[in-house]
Amino acid sequence: MDSFEARLQFISVIKNLQKTLNTLSSNTNDSTNSKSPNLGTTIANDPVQFYLKNYRQHYEDFHQCLFDTASKMDSLDRLNVLLYYSKIISILKSQNSEFNKKVLDLHILPSLDRMLLLTLPSKDWKSLTNLEFCIDIFKSLNSLYDNMVEWDDSINFEKSCPIEEVSWYTPEVPGMSPQEAFTNSSCILKDRRAKQHYLYDYYKRNGLCNVPSSSSTSTIIHRMENDREKHKRRKESSWVLTRPSNSLLDPHEFQTLWNLESCNGLTKDDYKNIKDLNTIAQQSYLV
């Protein structure tokens, strides 16, 4: 495949990410998803497989295409590109080789901040819907790289500033190394977090506010459907439990339950559920 053909195909892959990129897990190290219940992504149209098959000759072209195509998309749609980007990173990292290291360290990782800026553009309030995903992806990439950057959840924002004059952070110099990119990324994310809380606070004080928005209705509806699909797919696989010893009494299951936040005691809902259950039982005996 020559460079031009590769680019064309890659662009169409990116444009179809909405349909093909169904699972949310950005930590998967499986390059094959044969065990997933999601049969919508076959090997033929799996975007990650396409990249893995062709990146050795064309990784530079792909890198450029990624950013070019994403910059032409609506910011609501760009989240899929970011997800794709992060999946590629985790797969390349898991397949440890000199070549992969070179591709990652010289090309892909240093552009992380650019990618985040595309997903969370300056002065684009509606793109803040992407924020939680961006933070999750950043945190998982950060831990994949041994916590290159410190992350804390603190939020500082200027309450009194009027909405038109709020300033949005952009890194002065785009990252040249993975370290710089990660640092810039964490600054971008913190800033967007602050903007998000600023908006919540503004709404609480002033009610609905008018912000300029450039998305068409159909983009918004597509994004809503996409989110719904993602949530559905996530639910489909979030319960899967591996038992390393292949026994039903594998301690791993107990450990997982023990560490689960929802099993930390009884909530109000739990009390309601067991109360209802007890009532049903008592009525059921009819004695």
């Binding site: 219940p37 049969l39 639910k235 489909e236 319960w239 899967v240 439990l241 591996t242 038992r243 292949n246 026994s247 039903l248 009494l249 301690p251 299951e253 107990f254 339950l257 023990w258 099993c263 930390n264 005691g265 009884l266 809902d269 739990d270 009390y271 559920n273 067991i274 109360k275 209802d276 259950l277 007890n278 049903i280 039982a281 009525q283 059921s284 005996y285 009819l286 004695v287």
Partner: protein, 323 residues
């Protein structure tokens, strides 16, 4: 039932006392020994499916509830049990939302039973049979989705264990005991959280003979003393009578001394007089139509299932009001 009935209306009764269960089973199970032996094989079979398909334990628990409820209302035939069990786990994975496609479940089921070569045709026929039984299973549980959705024994062992500030070791022991619980019929009798409490009490008492168990715990956790005792003694009796069948003895956590039948006999002695749920009288059981209705489809036009007695009462009231 009269021979001219058009409609059967069933009130869902997801939990039954032991006497009621025996009555229902007497209509359908001729050889209890064969039934119980097969049940143990089915538990192993379903456990293997859960390991292969990576289901959590709650899927197994719901499947066993469905399987046992099926044989309260349908004749037991040894050749069909594996099909019914497959149907049960297909239904349970929908109930507890650990969905897997029926193709996968059916093909694993055939593979685990050493069916030589699973052609697409064999798989298809099996799938059809499994789906046919699904309706019977749903009727056996009266389509009652309120059970087996939020409250599961293993999860509540941990939740209640943490509420009671038990150590991780105690809860781990309780979690292992909770697997043996599935070999008894107690899930048909008392709700899951009561079973979890009983399991926790045993786990608490095993290493530490002189433990206290304040009775306030029953009302605090929406249970009652009779249901709790029913579960507690049922489990002790299982360990005393069928110690060889239990998984606890081979999976004792390290650090705890090994247990034997005598350990449980001691526990039972210390627990005092055995008591449990109030059982209905023989007459009440014999006249209880729920336990004796045969599923005769020939002269019944429709079968309806309701979840609350209020629906039945209001329907009867409106029927009486009609001129």
């Amino acid at each position: 039932m009269s021979s001219k009935s058009d409609t059967l209306l069933f009130l869902s009764r997801p939990f039954l006392t032991k006497k009621q269960i025996l009555k229902a089973q007497s209509n359908n199970i001729q050889d209890h020994r064969a039934y119980n032996q097969k049940k143990l094989a089915i538990i192993k079979f379903l456990s293997d499916i859960c390991v292969q398909l990576r289901f959590p334990r709650k899927t197994l628990e719901a499947a066993l509830y469905f399987y046992q409820r099926f044989y309260l209302f349908n004749k037991f035939e040894t050749e069909l049990c594996y099909t019914i069990a497959t149907s049960a786990i297909l239904l349970s994975c929908k109930q507890v939302e650990t969905i897997k496609k029926s193709n996968e479940i059916c093909s694993i089921s055939l593979r685990l039973r050493s069916v030589a070569k699973v052609t697409p045709e064999i798989l298809d026929n099996f799938k059809k049979r499994v789906c046919q039984h699904e309706l019977r299973l749903l009727e056996a549980i009266s389509f009652d989705y309120r059970i087996n959705n939020y409250v599961h024994i293993d999860e509540y062992v941990i939740k209640l264990g943490k509420e009671l500030a038990f150590s991780q070791e105690t809860c781990y022991l309780a979690w292992i005991i909770a697997y043996d619980v599935l070999k008894t019929e107690i899930i048909l009798v008392v709700p899951q959280h009561t079973i979890s409490l009983a399991v926790l009490k045993i786990a608490h008492e095993l290493p530490n003979a002189k433990s206290t168990w304040p009775t306030i715990r029953y009302t605090t956790f929406e249970s009652d003393e009779k249901s709790f005792s029913e579960a507690y003694f049922d489990l002790l009796n299982f360990y005393i009578n069928s110690f060889d069948l239990c998984d606890l003895k081979d999976n004792m956590p390290s650090g705890l001394q090994s247990i034997s039948i005598d350990t449980f006999i001691e526990l039972k002695k210390r627990a005092g007089r055995e008591y449990g749920l109030k059982n209905p009288t023989d007459k009440e059981v014999d006249t209880d139509l729920y336990l004796s209705t045969q599923y005769d489809t020939s002269n019944v036009r429709e079968r309806r299932y309701v979840l609350s007695a209020k629906s039945i009462n209001s329907e009867v009231a409106s029927m009486n009001q009609k001129p």
